[in-house]
Amino acid sequence: MYEQLREMIAQRLSGAQDCPAKEDVIEEITSDLMEKYNELTAAGVESEEAMRRVQEGIGDLSEVTAYINEVDRRSEENQRSGNTNPFAGIDDLMRTLAKDLSPSINSFVSDLKSAAGHAATAAKDAARDAKGPLHDMAQSVKGTVKNAIKNITVSRERGEFRYDYTVPSEGLTGLDIRTASGDVTFGLSQDDNIYIVELANGELTEEQMAQIQVVDGILQIRQGNKSSVGTLLFSYGMLSSDFEIYLPKRAWNSLSVTTTSGDVELDKEMEIASLHIHSTSGDLELPLVACGSAQIETVSGDVELSGHAQELRLVTVSGDFDFNGSAGRVSLSTTSGDMALRLDNVPDALDVTAVSGDTKLWIPDNDGFSLHYNRVSGDIRSDFDLKTSLNAKNGTAVYLSGGQRTYSMQSVSGDLRIYRR
C-alpha cells in the first residue's frame, strides 16, 4: 500500500524535475497520506474507499511542483557558477562578453564573476573605441581635448596622490563617466568650471590618469588604464582611484555613470533630464534628484534614491532598492533584491517583475487602479480594498473603478504589498 501511494504521489508530481527536493516532498506527502489511510481503514472504511478519499483530499499540487523546479534550477545555477573557484569560466566570459543582466529569469551570478563580465564589456568598449571612429575623432581632436582641460595639478595628500582636472562647462550638455573600482562622488562647483579630482593610492602615469575628453558636447571621463597588462579585470593588486566631480549648479541633459565596484553618490538636488547609472556591486546614493527619466541598473549594489522622476526604471539582481519621492511611470525588475517605494503621488503606470525579491509600495489614496497579476507563489496584499480575490495565480484586481491606471505584477515567489500612505 505504501508503494502504491508513493507511486500515485510521484505521478501527481510528474511535472517536477527529478531531484533531492522532489524526493523529500514525495516522502513527506506519502508518509502523511499513509497515516490518513491507516486511520480510515482502522475506523472500518473499506480499503478502496479509503484510498479514494485520500486521493480526493490531495487537491492541486501545481504550486508544489513549481517550488521543486525553482529549487532545482537554483541549485543547478549554483553548481555551474563554480562556487569553489570564483574565476571558473572567466575565459568563456571574456570570449562571449557580458550580456545585459536580465533579472527576470536568470539569477544568481557571483559578484566576482559579474564584475569580470562588466569589466570585460568595458574592455571591449575601450578596445572598440581604440579602433573605431571615436578613436579617430579623439585622435584628431587630441590637441583640442588637451586644451579643453584647462589645468591639471598633482599633489600629495595623506599618502594619496591627488590629480585635479579643470574643465570649463560651457557648451557641455552631459557627462558620461566610467570607472571600474573607484568611487564617484558628486559635489557643487562654485563657478562655471567642472572640477574633477582623482585620488589614487599610488603615482599615476599619463596613461593611468583619468582619460577625459569631450565628444559631441558630452564630457567623457574614463578611469585610466591601471594595470600593466592592459586589461581592466580585477581591482586587487592594482592601482585604483576615486573620483570627486564638482559640477556647476545647472540642469544637465544627460548623466551616465557606469561603475563595477565603485560606489556612486550624487549631490543633492541635481537636475538631470536623462539619468543612467549602472553598477555591479557599488552602492548608489542618489538624493533629491529631479529627472526626466532615471534608469538604474545594479547587480548587488544597494540603491537609495529620492526625488522625482517622470520615468523611473530600476533593474536589480540582488541589490535592495529604496525610493522616496514621486514618479510618473515606474518599472521595476528584481531577482532577489527587495524594493521599497514611498511615493508622494499615484503613479500613472507601474510594472513589477520579480523572482523572489519582495516589493513594498506606499501610495496615497486615489480614485482607482487595476492590478494585473501573474504569480507562482508570491503573495499580494494591499490595504486598498481590492475587488477580486487574490488567491488565483493570475488575474486582475481592481481598486474602486480601476480608473485610468493599469499596474501589473509578475512574480515567482516575491511578494507585493501596496499600502495606503
Binding site: 505504501y2 508513493r6 523529500d24 516532498v25 516522502e27 513527506e28 506527502i29 506519502t30 508518509s31 502523511d32 497520506l33 499513509m34 497515516e35 490518513k36 483530499g57 490531495i58 487537491g59 492541486d60 499540487l61 501545481s62 504550486e63 508544489v64 517550488y67 523572489s356 507563489s377 503573495d379 480575490s389 487574490l390 488567491n391 515567489s413
Partner: protein
Amino acid sequence: MSMTSDIIRGHTETMILAQLLEHDSYGYEINKSIRDRTGGAYEAKEGTLYTAFRRLEQAGYIRSYWGDESSGARRRYYAITDEGRAFFRESRDEWQRVKAIIDRLIGTEQA
C-alpha cells in the same frame, strides 16, 4: 461554500502558524487538528497545506526537520521561528481588524 473556502484558504498560513505555536507538528497532524477544531467544518487540501509549508519556510517563519520514525516513511516536522511568531501576531491582528470592519458594515443582527 466556495466563498467560505476561498476566505479560509487565504488564511492557511496563519492557521498553520497557530498550530505550531503550541508545539512542533507535521502535515497530517496539522490538518487533523484543523478539522477537529472546526468540528469537521473545514479540512484543508494537502496541496494547499504543502504549498503553505514551502512559503512559510522560504519566508523564514518556520523550519523543518525529519523525524526518526522506526517504521514507515519519515515524517517532516515543522517548528515556528521567532520571525514566524511575529508574523503570526501581525496576521492575527490584521484579521481582527478586517473582521471588525466587515461586521460594522454588514451588521451582526439577523435581518
